[in-house]
Symmetry: C2
Subunit: 253 residues, 2 copies
């Protein structure tokens, strides 16, 4: 966070004040000597972000495909070595299917990944509400700056991994990246997010076979369709003791 | 908007209900016979989105660079003909500087665009607050689904163009695209947005030389730095009769 001098106006009265603002850096991922992508993100957990992005974008199939990540924190560059024979394919995959604010899952490779989520994991609605309450208390940067999204991996007992970022996709990639790097599983887990649920978000969580996705915000129609297709439990508008269940409600008691 | 059957849970009680959900489509821009990018967006104002995206991403310099946009509304594809001699350059520019959720302004071409905004436009703080109130009333899809961002171009008298989308960048691109296509100017105008202000947002508005940017939400540190550098007035947390001014406060009375 960075402090800025601002003019606060309230009912016509001016006042100079200090304001805490969220940090943003352009973070470039290089595979070998080639630039893959630049993400705008908060400058924390960059190894997790790099690993999570590569995995959820479908550019690597498993964490072992990454041989090395070296981060240059002055220029905000990740130098990544992949244990993938054909790194050209990595570039091709990103350019053809996901460039811009793209839709990776509309590619053929990803259709294959849209298999049914058959987890028999169950969680009580009241437990989801209390998870969301804990989640919001942890959002330190959001509470101080109003400018961050958060994401968490949780199980029936509580939050396991919690991350914040200026982008809702980045926060989710950081959570997934850390979990992959520490070798943990996604079985019987819940992804909690502050952000809206688009098809992209659901694709990211389904890459990990996470059975339950819970958001404070709204889903899109495509996200609901995908969740139904894939058998993922999708809950939205989780606020106070309320929530909406859009798909696979059998996992919520 | 689309209606879905949902289970609403409130204080432990279950209830089946209908829920209005925002629509999302994958919208692909083709330049000639080559795919440029796929945007996830709401399926409205697609010509405006295509034109705005090409312009704010720096892929075209002026609206006249677009000879034709034909939209296929079954496959959500825009077939675009550019009056640009070297369309390969367009692809190169997107791939090298903006791929992913990228940072177009960190490229050399865009540094050149970071000239000072010298507009002597002025607006009263109370007028900004009433603009924001009008803006929020117009957010029909957000009010019904909770899943949309909005953006508007306004002047001292009120809102001129208003757009909604599932993405805050898309909403801004749609506003700019419509304005460009109708041949209007951005002089003495205000960009109003529901979303957070990152450097990308500020770069988009500065491509049009819009002197004042007003948000309901928070800015990032990079957005504030850019706004100061470029002499753009940046106001955030515009809620009720309050707002914060982060830069070039001389334009706000």
């Amino acid at each position: 966070m960075e402090v800025f001098k601002v003019i606060k106006i309230k009912a016509g009265a001016k006042e100079a004040a200090d304001d805490l603002v969220v940090e943003e850096v352009p973070f470039t991922l290089n595979i070998g000597d080639k630039e893959l992508v630049t993400l705008l993100c908060m400058p924390a957990d960059l190894e997790d972000l790099a690993a999570g992005f590569l995995f959820t974008s479908g550019l690597i199939r498993k964490i072992e495909d990454i041989k090395k990540i070296v981060i240059n924190r002055e220029q905000w560059v990740a130098y990544i070595e992949l244990a993938v024979a054909d790194t050209e394919m990595v570039f091709k995959r990103l350019y053809t299917s996901g460039c811009g604010r793209g839709t990776l899952f509309y590619s053929a490779a990803d259709l294959i990944n849209r298999v049914k989520n058959v987890s028999d994991f169950k969680i009580e609605a009241v437990k989801i509400s209390s998870l969301m309450a804990d989640f919001q208390k942890k959002s330190e940067i959001y509470l101080k700056t109003g400018g961050a999204h958060s994401a968490a991996l949780a199980d029936n007992k509580g939050i396991l991994i919690f991350k914040e970022d200026i982008g809702r996709h980045n926060a989710i990639d950081k959570v997934i990246g850390q979990r992959l790097r520490e070798g943990g599983s996604f079985e019987n887990k819940i992804m909690v997010t502050s952000g809206r649920i688009s098809s992209e978000v659901l694709l990211k969580t389904q890459k990990c076979r996470i059975p339950v996705v819970v958001s404070k915000s709204a889903p899109t129609n495509q996200a609901i369709r995908l969740a139904k297709d894939m058998g993922v439990t999708l809950a939205g508008f989780t606020r106070g003791n309320r929530l909406n269940i859009y798909s696979a409600e059998e996992r919520i008691d």
